[in-house]
Amino acid sequence: MNNFSLVFAIPSYIVIATVIFFGMFFPLSILSEFIFVEPFFIIHVTTDLAFSFGLILAISFMSAIVIPMNIYRIRILRKKTSRIGTSLIGAIIGASAGACSCGPIGFFIISTFGAGASLATAFLTNYEIPLRLISLGLLCVVYFTTTKSISTECRIR
């Protein structure tokens, strides 16, 4: 049995993964204005923004795999929490890259914190795609190091 199956053979980890996936995908898609619920529920992805939407989907999916695997690793192997921190940082980079533009979060941040915040949101918006790719890369690295760690530690034990 490989490490992926080892973790997700336990139903509670499937539940955690599902919650993380939907808990990230829906808020991120709403904040990035791919999903609208008012006046009607509608998913709207234009061709020019399709890649950005695909990256949100990929980040949510990877977070839903990586975070439960790390929780498993911590609980079973009593290891440190640093990889969850890295996964969350990856997810935050991906989330803030898209959410801080002309939507309500961007407006709130800029109108509250002024010019400095404006520079930060400009950076996050102008480099949205590269930042999301970095975020995805970070999650992939954490996935492989976690898989390796579970595999090694389980063999030793």
Partner: protein
Amino acid sequence: MNRLIPVIISGIAIALIVGVGFTSYYAQIIEIQELRDKAIDMKKAERNILNLENASPILGSAEAQITIVEFGDYQCELCYSWFHNTRGTIIDNYVDTGKVNIVFVDLAFLGSDSPIAAQATHCANEQGKYWEYHSILYYKQEGIDNGWASKSMLKEYANELKLDSDQFASCIDSAKYAKNVQNSYNAAVKMKVSSTPTFYLFDHENGMVEKISGAQPLSVFVKTIDSML
């Protein structure tokens, strides 16, 4: 314990991002419900809600039954997306047929070039080319504060539209319309508009007001407009 700190900080940051987003979203829903209540008497609603003193000229017939008021920023990529994917069909099917007119209100907040770009459209308006200049900005948009909307580039666009370059340069250099753009921003904030693009659809015959937040697809606009006509 020290290793837990980044996890806790990261968790709080995610919760903050999601929390602020949803708080703003629900505030908007409450706001639209209040607006619907207020809009029973359209004249009253127009007086109280619709302050278009510093807005664009009207695009379309002044006698149209519905006015779409768009709050936008020239550096906003979602405004760009709406301009290129939805606006054209609305103009063909509703504005050109005299059913709807469009007004643009500057909510220039995204960067230091946003208010200058907004002022430039008002300078172009002095020479009767507001909407042509508005369109050229949405064709030229390339991001936020990365040079495409600098003063020198704005003057270039004026040349492309064959505007009187001296008059335009003098207008933009003197920041003649800075106050108007700021007033538009203040009016938008007063109306609780907190993102771009945001649209208010005012039905002058039935006194209905609908708010559409975001670059929503054409089908949402068609359904909303058709329900008013």
